[in-house]
């Protein structure tokens, strides 16, 4: 229950889908681990420019 409380704000994104307790446990675990992954990638990408897509159409040539 404690783990689910920690990620309750994320579980709200699941739009009411109700998984079994076992499935929910596995989802929660992975969500928490994803937080660790994002932290590492944030560290790794320090100093790298943010990506921006061009809004205007442009020719792409091979």
């Amino acid at each position: 229950m404690k783990d689910m409380d920690k990620v309750a704000h994320r579980l709200a994104f699941l739009e009411g889908a109700s998984f079994s307790p076992e499935d929910l446990e596995s989802i929660v675990k992975e969500i928490e681990d994803n937080e660790r992954i994002v932290g590492e990638l944030e560290e790794f990408s320090q100093g790298t420019p943010w990506i921006s897509l061009q809004a205007q159409p442009h020719e792409k040539k091979a």
Binding site: L14, F19, D23, I37, T48, P49, A62
Partner: protein, 472 residues
């Protein structure tokens, strides 16, 4: 010519025989369908088989050829396509219960171009649901079995396509790749698989796994056949926002096995966890490439340690976005593992996704610098041969959750960055399973990759070997 002999022909020879009217397209299609009927019970490689439609098409092709109209190398050739491609009037399921009854009204761009080339689609192949997986066991229609050992996986998500080609059912198969879904099953099934640069083949009318990483690719028994299958389907399509303008593709005509001086980079630190028999086969393959004049260079790109994580998080978030509506309305109809994966992706925030893309950009710049030092990056395609079905989803040993010198990163970075890649067979393990090597080129260096693969296949015969299954 008996049907099994027809199935053993290469594409060039079959194409010539049909054009010369020494063999009919009807005979070629019937041979493929006969073989399919004999083996499909063991492989489960197909979701839909187009018996009558394919025979009717083949008859029309023969009449057209008799009138002197030949459309090119694929005219009258039996091919298969992954059930990710919309096919007008034909069940198109994505391997999912959600679309188990869906029949589109229009063709995908791939199917349009195959029809224009006169190819005969004989079936839609089985896959991981909507491309979510690396095993082809996550299908509503049951798992695909590897033709080399039906107790093993074919790999995914394009496992049905790879299994079909390996089992000599159809000369070519077209699949898709988001993480490794062409290269991995090609390696596991002992065939040649090619994923071109992002944007070379239109994805219009195919289901999206993760839009910024999805590619269309193809499988064949040799790189010569790959090139023949690539030419008719490559080319700009305004309906796919990722499509690129290019000259008329002539990959087959420009094949050249003279690769003297080509630089082949090896990221050796990433190979330490690779199975010893796979490593031995790879080392032997490097010697072959050196023997044909390539320069082998050892170097490191430490940023690639983050590739698998970055690719995985990108796919997770994008596939959640793509599947959001179905998830909201009928998540229970997804394969359970896929539903759980989408749920996890739904929980990734926009700012986290953008952070992941920043990391992706850093890796891309590191590879851009690397390709100034080398023409190709080579590695074993997978760290081990196809695992047993009983080993489940973890059987491949892939790690997409830790930054490390794990081979999984080499498997994931090409699709994440849109680089052209070819997996080709380089040996057989002690268990009798195929081993593959991947050659990854820089952006739009597709011809270089194909030429390097041709140089290897011109001096070896691993690509001519096939599974015992179904052979007389």
């Amino acid at each position: 010519m008996v049907p099994n002999d027809i199935c053993e022909l290469n594409l060039t020879d079959l194409s010539w025989l049909i054009a010369a009217r020494e063999l009919s397209s009807v005979e070629a299609v019937n041979a493929a369908l006969t073989r399919l009927e004999r083996l499909e019970g063991k492989l489960n490689a197909f979701i839909t088989v187009l018996y009558e439609e394919a025979r009717a098409e083949a008859k029309k092709v023969d009449e057209e050829i008799a009138r002197g109209n030949n459309r090119g190398p694929l005219h009258g050739i039996p091919v298969t396509i992954k059930d990710m491609f919309e096919t007008a009037g034909v069940l198109t399921t994505g391997g999912s219960k959600i679309l188990q009854d869906w029949v589109p009204e229009t063709d995908s761009a791939l199917v349009e171009r195959l029809r224009r080339a006169g190819a005969i689609i004989i079936g839609k192949t089985n896959l991981d649901e909507f491309g979510h997986g690396g095993t082809s066991t996550l299908s509503h229609f049951g798992p695909v079995h590897n033709p080399w050992d039906i107790q093993r996986i074919a790999g995914g998500s394009s496992g049905g396509s790879a299994a079909a080609v390996a089992a000599r059912i159809g000369m070519l198969s077209y699949g898709t790749e988001t993480g490794s879904s062409v290269r991995r099953p090609a390696s596991y099934c002992g065939i040649t698989g090619f994923k071109p640069t992002f944007g070379i083949i239109s994805r219009h009318g195919s289901f999206r796994g993760a839009w910024s990483q999805d590619h269309v690719g193809l499988f064949a028994r040799s790189v010569k056949d790959i090139a023949l299958g690539l030419d008719p389907v490559a080319g700009f399509d305004a309906r796919d926002p990722a499509s690129v303008h290019q000259e008329t593709p002539e990959y087959a005509a420009r094949l050249n096995a003279n690769v003297k001086g080509l630089k082949i980079g090896v990221l050796g630190k990433f190979l330490e966890g690779v199975d010893s028999t796979v490593k031995q086969a790879f080392d032997a393959a490097l010697k072959v490439l050196a023997g044909v004049g390539c320069e082998i260079i050892d170097f490191d790109v430490p940023e690639v340690r983050y590739a698998a994580m970055t690719s995985m998080m990108t796919s997770s978030a994008e596939s959640a976005g793509i599947n959001r509506r179905w998830f909201r309305e009928r998540y229970q109809d997804f394969v359970p593992h896929v539903a759980r994966g989408i749920a996890v992706g739904m929980a990734i925030t926009a700012s986290e996704y953008l952070t992941v893309q920043r990391a992706r950009h850093r890796i891309r710049e590191a590879l851009r610098a690397a390709y100034e030092k080398t023409d190709i990056i080579a590695s074993p395609t997978t760290a081990r041969v196809a695992p047993l079905l009983s080993e489940g989803l973890k059987g491949s040993g892939d790690d997409t959750r830790h930054a490390s010198y794990n081979q999984s990163n080499l498997l994931r970075f090409p699709s994440m960055l849109g680089l052209p890649g070819c997996s080709l067979p380089i040996g057989i393990s002690q268990e009798g399973m195929p081993i593959g090597m991947q050659l990854i080129g820089s952006w739009f260096a597709d011809q270089t990759v194909l030429n390097a693969a041709l140089a290897y296949q011109s001096t070896t015969d691993w690509h001519t070997r096939g599974p015992v299954l179904g052979n007389p």
